[in-house]
Symmetry: C2
Subunit: 184 residues, 2 copies
C-alpha cells in the first residue's frame, strides 16, 4: 500500500528512530518508492544518511585500536571500547563476491569479524587462537554488514570475543573467537 507523502515521511521518521541502521534501499522497499524518493524525504526531514547516523549513534569519542594498525582493520570501525565492545561496517563490493553469483565470500565476513576481535583487545599483541563461525545467510553485493563484537571473557591465557554480523538487522554471521594476548 502506498502512503501519502506526509504519511510516508511520518512513518519514515518513526522507522529510522526505531532502526537507525536501516538502509535507504530497505526503506524504499518498505514504502514501495524509489531510493531517490527516500533520499529526498530524508533531506526534507533533515535526517542524515545511514553512515552519518551510525557514526552519530556511536560514541563521540571512542578508544583507539591498539593491537593492529587502524588501516589493517577489514571494514570501518565506528565504535570501540577496548576489552568491551566494538562495531564495524563493511560494504560488500565487487571484490568481496564470487564472480558467478555475487554472493560474498565467507572469508571476508570472517576477516571483518576476526579483525574486529583483534582490534577490541587492549594490548599491542593479540592473536587468534580458535574460531568457531556460522554463516547464517548469504550476503549479496551492495549489502552493508554491521559487525558487533563483545568481549565475554577476558584473561591473559584466553579472551573470548563474540561477534554478530547483521544486514538490515538480520543476523548473517556469528563467530566466537578465542584470542591470545601478551599481557593483561
Amino acid at each position: 500500500m502506498k502512503h501519502s507523502k506526509k504519511e510516508r515521511q511520518r512513518l519514515l521518521k518513526d522507522k529510522i528512530a526505531s532502526d537507525p541502521f536501516i538502509t535507504d534501499e530497505s526503506l524504499a522497499e518498505l514504502f514501495k518508492v524509489s531510493v531517490q524518493t527516500i533520499r529526498l524525504d530524508r533531506l526534507e526531514l533533515s535526517i542524515p544518511e545511514l553512515r552519518e547516523r551510525m557514526k552519530h549513534a556511536a560514541r563521540e569519542h571512542y578508544d583507539e585500536v591498539k593491537a593492529l594498525a587502524p588501516e589493517e582493520v577489514i571494514g570501518e570501525i565506528i565504535d570501540l571500547q577496548l576489552d568491551k565492545e566494538a562495531i564495524s561496517i563493511l560494504d560488500i563490493k565487487e571484490e568481496h563476491v564470487f564472480y558467478r553469483n555475487d554472493i560474498a565470500r565467507g572469508h571476508f565476513l570472517f576477516a571483518q569479524a576476526n579483525s574486529l576481535a583483534v582490534a577490541i583487545i587492549n594490548d599491542e599483541l593479540a592473536l587468534t587462537n580458535k574460531a568457531s563461525v556460522n554463516f547464517m545467510r548469504q550476503v549479496k553485493i551492495g549489502e552493508r554488514v554491521v559487525a558487533r563484537a563483545v568481549v565475554t571473557e577476558a584473561g591473559k591465557a584466553k579472551t573470548l570475543v563474540e561477534v554478530t554480523s547483521k544486514v538490515n538487522r538480520e543476523v548473517v554471521f556469528r563467530g566466537e573467537f578465542t584470542m591470545y594476548r601478551s599481557r593483561l
Copy 2:
C-alpha cells in the same frame, strides 16, 4: 656439526626423498649452510626446486575446480580430486602479515583453507555454512603453507571438509568446514 660436501649431498638427497615438501631454507638450517649452497647442491644433484617437486609429487592430471573460478582460489592448487581431497600452497608475503610483527593474519590462513574447501566440492554452487578453526602456531613472512583438504562426509545437506595446513610438516592451522551444495 658440518658435513663434507659429499656427505651433505648424500644426506640432502635422503632428506628430500623422505620429506619432499621441505624448503631450501629448512635444509640450509638443518645442514648449517647457506640457502645458496643448498641451491647449488640441488643443481648438482639435479633435484628440482620445492614448487616443482610438489607439482611432480601431485597427480599429473587432477580435476578442475567447479564451484568457483580457479583464480578465485586463495593459494595455488597443486592437487585436486573432487569430493575427495585437495592440496594448495600459499607463500606468506608482505600483504598477508601484520605490519608490526610479520605474523600472518588469521584470515589469510582461513581463506586458503576455506577456498580449498569450496574448490573440493563437485558442484557449481558450494557455500560455507559453518567453520571451526584452530590456529596452532604463528606463521611468519617467507613461510610456505601447504593446506590439505579431505572430504570426511559427503551429503547434499552437509558436506564436511577437514583442512590441515602445515609449514615444514608442522601443523599451523586446522579447520573443519561444513559446506552446503546445490545437489549431489
